[in-house]
């Protein structure tokens, strides 16, 4: 029924199966939309945020999807600026995932600010002393860049490409994509960094505070570095997941291997820097503020030293080691383990830098402040996942996302088999 829209040379599941997937994801999406409207109509009293938790589950989700979406800017930088041409076979998917992640981040922020109709205030009445202003600027501009990078892919749809203007527009955009990719890398460097900088400059919260260079705390550089390291792992993770669900090979192993190797080197160097930063913080910065390391990991029912080990060892050293050794990286099971641990690792890092920062007592009379999100917060955080599934499903069905798919899955051979 919709075969005229499906790219040439590839096979897709029957329409009813596709619609069923959309219906299931759509039901979850509607649940999230309902919670979103509750937050907009009734206000932020629908959440469990309070005076301790001005930043809560939403901001963690924001930071996590922005880090995971970092695969788009870093892959774009590698392909268009550094000329790693092999990555052209995965860049479309990296862009799509980046687009989903960044649009999700903006949606979550639109709920979080409580009054989305005043969202434009941050541009017009900008507080130029706030790192969050820089984040808002770069995030919005980078989302525009991602939309520009995603647009040619939409225009390459079989039917749209028949329109001469769309065909030429897509062609012209490809020709100048390096300019957009370089702009995207520049914007990402600053907003990823500033998201880390926000935590690092909190000198009243010794758990988060770090020294640095000029106005930038070390967390600024660590966040950018970690996004470039872990983002490509998320791209590989979702690619492998798509291959699993479609039961097809979509990207050749040499492309995945190259991205995994680069990610491994980035992660390895990042985790060394992160461990040095942690040791210096634990032995110099925190004691100078009157805290011992274990003050941050004891006296409560949730945050133990396990979370530090999970972040650094299981979510950092282990995946980096697995990705750096060619034999381990080439093993599909170990690659799965590595990219899964990496995704968990960066999410735990962002959790710690948002929520544990809020939980740790600062004053001598303070208690640990633990927090459980309301169902509205959970639903609106799951909403982007459902939205992502829908957009991936539609894009995969109708757009030529994987240039190697037809070659890797010849239709004639499948029919004969």
């Amino acid at each position: 029924m919709d075969s005229a829209l499906i790219p040439k040379g590839v096979q897709r599941c029957p329409l009813w199966q596709f619609l069923l997937i959309l219906a299931v994801a759509g039901a979850v999406l509607l649940w999230g939309v309902y919670a979103m409207f509750l937050c907009w109509i009734k206000g932020l009293n629908q959440t469990n945020m309070n005076d301790y938790y001005g930043f809560a589950l939403w901001i963690w989700a924001d930071l996590a999807v922005i880090a995971l979406g970092g695969g788009a800017f870093f892959s774009g930088f590698l392909k268009y600026v550094l000329g790693r041409d092999e990555l052209k076979n995965i860049i479309n998917y990296a862009v799509l995932l980046g687009f989903i992640c960044y649009s999700s981040a903006l949606l979550i922020l639109a709920i979080d600010i409580g009054q989305p109709l005043r969202g434009w205030f941050i541009f017009w009445h900008a507080n130029v002393h706030s790192m969050l202003t820089e984040v808002a600027f770069c995030l919005s501009c980078y989302f525009a860049v991602l939309s520009i990078e995603y647009l040619p892919l939409i225009l390459e749809n079989r039917q749209l490409a028949k329109v001469p203007f769309f065909h030429h527009l897509s062609h012209n955009m490809h020709k100048v994509m390096a300019v957009f990719a370089a702009t995207g890398a520049f914007l990402s460097f600053f907003h990823q960094g500033s998201l880390g900088g926000v935590a690092g400059v909190l000198y009243g919260r010794p758990f988060a505070y770090r020294e640095g260079v000029l106005v930038w705390p070390w967390t600024f550089f660590l966040f950018t570095w970690s996004a470039a390291a872990y983002g490509p792992c998320f791209t590989i993770f979702i690619t492998r997941l798509t291959e699993y669900f479609t039961r097809k090979k979509l990207v050749k192993d040499n492309v995945i291997d190259l991205l995994a190797k680069i990610s491994g080197w980035m992660m390895g160097t990042y985790i060394i820097a992160k461990i040095i930063d942690t040791i210096y913080w634990a032995t110099v910065t925190a004691p100078a503020a009157g805290f011992r390391l274990m003050d941050f990991y004891s006296g409560n029912s949730f945050y133990g030293i396990w979370i530090l080990l999970l972040e650094l060892i299981l979510g950092g050293v282990a995946p980096a080691a697995l990705l750096l050794v060619p034999r381990w990286r080439a093993n599909p099971r170990l690659l799965w383990v590595a990219i899964s641990l990496a995704v968990v690792g960066v999410c735990v890092n962002r959790w710690v830098m948002v929520l544990q920062v809020m939980a740790v007592p600062v004053m001598p009379f303070d208690q640990w402040a633990l927090y459980l999100p309301s169902w509205q917060e959970v639903a609106t955080t799951i909403l982007p996942v459902a939205y992502g599934v829908i957009l991936v499903a539609i894009s995969y069905r109708y757009l030529p996302i994987f240039p190697q798919e037809a070659e890797l899955n010849p239709i004639e051979e499948t029919v004969k088999a």
Binding site: F123, V128, H129, C141, F166, N172
Partner: protein, 54 residues
């Protein structure tokens, strides 16, 4: 915010922040304008060559 807004102050913060924003928006705007105008010209050339061919 523009320099003619009442809140504008000629200090480093405003110049760096707002300058960066307008710089990025200008690159995006010029890039897209170039692509759209060139696509329109290419498409009209196609139409002209098709009609002259008939």
């Amino acid at each position: 915010m523009f320099p003619f807004s009442f809140e504008w102050v000629w200090d480093m913060g405003h110049m760096v922040f707002m300058g960066g924003l307008w710089y990025a928006l200008t690159i995006i705007g010029i890039g897209m304008t170039y692509c759209i105008v060139k696509a329109a010209m290419d498409a009209s050339k196609d139409t002209a060559s098709h009609s002259s061919g008939h």
